[in-house]
């Protein structure tokens, strides 16, 4: 029991190893999902599983699409400038 507690605490006292790689941008996905779910939880009139899931997925997809568009625009800008 003590070992489990110690291991659990240890995972929260040492940071994970995350490199500065293009793959690290994928960390935006869980965050976007969380934002979509919480925002929709405050917005929908009644929480019904199917509707709520659909609306959250649509918001999640739109956040990701606009992030990709923003990234492409910034990439194009840097390509033009440099």
């Amino acid at each position: 029991m003590h070992l489990i507690t110690a291991l659990t605490i240890a995972t929260f006292t040492t940071p994970e190893k995350i490199g500065v790689t293009p793959l690290a941008t994928l960390w935006l996905l869980p965050l976007a999902a969380s934002i979509a779910v919480v925002y929709k939880a405050t917005k929908v009139k009644r929480v019904r599983a199917a509707d709520f899931f659909k609306e959250s997925v649509v918001l999640f997809a739109s956040i990701v699409v606009f992030m990709v568009i923003t990234a492409l625009v910034l990439l194009a800008l840097t390509w033009i400038v440099t």
Binding site: V20, L31, T42, V47
Partner: protein
């Protein structure tokens, strides 16, 4: 009479707001919005926990990360306990894990702020238009 009712209403709004701050989703739970409360609690607690897992508790730093700390504290006043543990820089974290951890925990706090405001607004509406009216 009207003044007493207004005071009662204000106290209720305060209770809802403080509960929502103390435990994410508790404000909605008081308003009998159980599904909403569970969704909010799970999403915010999970986001905050992922942030702590990635960056360690060192991402909650009231000295070197004041701006992020201001957002993190919106998760719950219990974040101050973490702040006290990490204030001596024994859990310093740098680079990408620090960045991602701070973003996750701060966004979780700001999402809870949104939920606090929403819960208070819903409580106000419920008082103005009682259920079944």
């Amino acid at each position: 009479m009207a003044s007493r009712s207004k005071d009662k209403n204000l106290a209720f709004l305060l209770v809802v707001g403080l509960s929502a701050w103390l435990i994410p989703g508790a404000g909605h739970f008081i308003l009998r919005e159980k599904a909403r409360a569970i969704i909010i609690f799970v999403a915010i607690a999970l986001t905050f926990t992922v942030g702590l897992y990635v960056g360690s508790i060192g991402v909650v730093n009231p000295v070197e990360g004041k701006l992020a700390y201001a957002a993190q504290i919106m998760n719950s006043p219990m974040v101050t306990v973490l702040g006290r543990v990490t204030v001596n820089n024994h859990y310093s974290v740098f680079g990408k894990p620090n960045e991602i951890g701070q973003i996750y925990t701060s966004i979780a706090g700001l999402l809870n702020l949104l939920c606090i405001v929403n819960a208070v607004y819903m409580a106000h509406l419920q008082k103005a238009q009682p259920r079944g009216a």
